[in-house]
Symmetry: D2
Subunit: 148 residues, 4 copies
C-alpha cells in the first residue's frame, strides 16, 4: 500500500509545449510556479517561488496545450516521478516531475494567449458525475510507446 499524491495551484512560467511520441501519444510539458508569502519577524514581507515541472499525457495533454498559456493559472493533481538521463558529460542526472492526472484551468482567456482566445474552460472536460475532473482514457492511447 502506498500513496504518491501532489496537488498544485500555480501559474505557468511559459507557454506549454506539446509533443508526440513516435507512437503517436501526446505529451505536454510546462512549468508551474507556486509562491508563498509571509511576514517575517522584523515585519518584512517575504516571498518565495517554487518552480515545478509538470508532464501530462494523452488527451489531457492536448487540452492543456489548447487552454493553458504563459501566465495562466492551473490547479492540478498528480504524482511525483523522478526520471534519470545522461548529461553531455555522461553523468547520470535526475529530474523530478509531476505527472498530472487532472488539470483544472482557472481564469478566462487572457489577451495575448493566442491558443485559447475566447475559450471558456473552467474545467478540462465535461464533469461526468463522480469523474468530473477526469479525462476518460484515450482509446487510441499507445501505452507501449510511453517511456515510463
Amino acid at each position: 500500500m502506498s500513496v504518491n499524491k501532489v496537488i498544485l495551484l500555480g501559474r505557468l512560467g511559459q507557454d506549454p509545449e506539446l509533443k508526440y511520441t513516435p507512437g503517436g501519444a501526446a505529451v505536454c510539458n510546462f512549468s508551474l510556479a507556486t509562491t508563498e508569502a509571509w511576514t517575517d519577524k522584523s515585519g518584512q514581507k517575504q516571498e518565495k517561488t517554487e518552480w515545478h515541472r509538470v508532464v501530462v499525457w494523452g488527451k489531457l495533454a492536448e487540452l492543456c496545450n489548447q487552454y493553458l498559456a504563459k501566465g495562466r493559472q492551473a490547479f492540478l493533481e498528480g504524482r511525483l516521478q523522478t526520471r534519470s538521463w545522461d548529461d553531455k558529460d555522461g553523468n547520470k542526472r535526475y529530474t523530478t516531475e509531476i505527472l498530472a492526472s487532472t488539470v483544472q484551468f482557472i481564469g478566462g482567456a487572457s489577451a495575448g494567449a493566442n491558443n485559447n482566445a475566447g475559450v471558456d474552460s473552467s474545467y478540462a472536460q465535461a464533469p461526468a458525475p463522480a469523474q468530473e475532473y477526469q479525462i476518460a482514457s484515450d482509446a487510441s492511447f499507445a501505452a507501449d510507446d510511453i517511456p515510463f
Copy 2:
C-alpha cells in the same frame, strides 16, 4: 475557483450495497471508518473512530461492490456533497457524503468475503499512465438519470 477534495483511507463497516437507478446507472454505497489513536496527557491510549458515508457511481460502483467487503481497506479520493431529504415527520434532513471518484482496494481477498475471493485487486483498474487511479467514463452512463 474552488477546491472540494477528500482523501480517505479506512475500513468498511459493512459490505457495500449496489443499486441501479431506473435509468440503469449503478450506485454503490458503503461506510468507511477512519480511526485516530494518540496518547493523552496522562499517558492513556486514546482512540476515536469516524464513520464516513461513501457513494460511488458507474463502473467504479460495480468494481467496489465486487472487490470490497466488510472489514476490507480502501483508499479513496472524492468530494464532499450534502444531500437533503425529508424524514417521516416532514422535516428537512441533511446527509453529507463523500462522492468518490477513485477507489484503491487494499489488501488481498479476505476469508468470508465471498464476492472477491482470490481476486487480485490492488487497483480498481489497469493504470494507464497518468490516469492510473481513474476509471474511464462509462459509455453507457446515463447522466440524466443520476439524482445530483
Copy 3:
C-alpha cells in the same frame, strides 16, 4: 492506519462566528461555499454550489474571526467529523463538519469587512519553514539558521 483529510478552497457565506467554551477555548464556525462549473451535453453552462460547515479551535479560531469575513476566500485543510445532537423532537440528528487544522486567508481586505480592514494576511501565521501553515511554533526554533 487511516487517513481522514479534507482540502477546501472556497468563499464564506457569512461572517465567521467566534465563541468560547466555559473553559476558555476559542471556537470559530463558518460556512464555506465551493462551486463547480461545467458545460453540459447541450452546451449549457451549469453550476453547482456545495456548502461546508467549518470548525476551527484555539488560536487559529481567533485568527479566522479576525481575518475572514463574508465573501472572503479561504483555503483550508482538515478532517471530517460527524457530531450527533438531539433536535427539538428528541430525534438524533447528525451534522458533518470539517475540523480545520490549517487555514490560509486569500485576497486582501475587502471593503465592508470591518474586522480585517487593511490587514495583510496571506497566511494564518508566520510561516516558520516546514511548519508554515501551522499554528504554534517551537519557541526555540532558530529560523535564521535554516538554509532555505
Copy 4:
C-alpha cells in the same frame, strides 16, 4: 494564491539521518519508497517503485529519527522544494525534495530497529484536537473543555 501540497505513504529505504545546523536546528533526511502495482494488458503483474527524498526540520526531525527506521512505513504531508547545488565539475545540479510538515509513524517497532524498540508511536505528537498532526501545541489549550 497558490497551493504546493504533497501527500506520501511509503516505506523508508534506509535509516533516517539526523544532523544539526551550526545554529542548532535539527534536520532529518530519509528516502521513502512508494510502489504502484497493476496488471498490464497481457495479464502480467507490474510494479514500479518511486523514491522520494524527504526533509524534516525542528522537533519533528528528532521524532522522525527516533521513531523511523529502514523498512518502516510513514505517512506524511509537505511541500515540494527544489534546491540547487554545484557538483564536483562546477555544474549546477538540482534536487527536488519533500519538505515534510507532518509525519505519521505507521506500524509497531520492528525487530532490528534499535532506536524505537517498544515505543508506541502511531502519531508524531500528542494530537491536540484539530491540530493532531502538528508539532507544537498551545500550552494554554484546555483540552478537557473541548466537546469532541
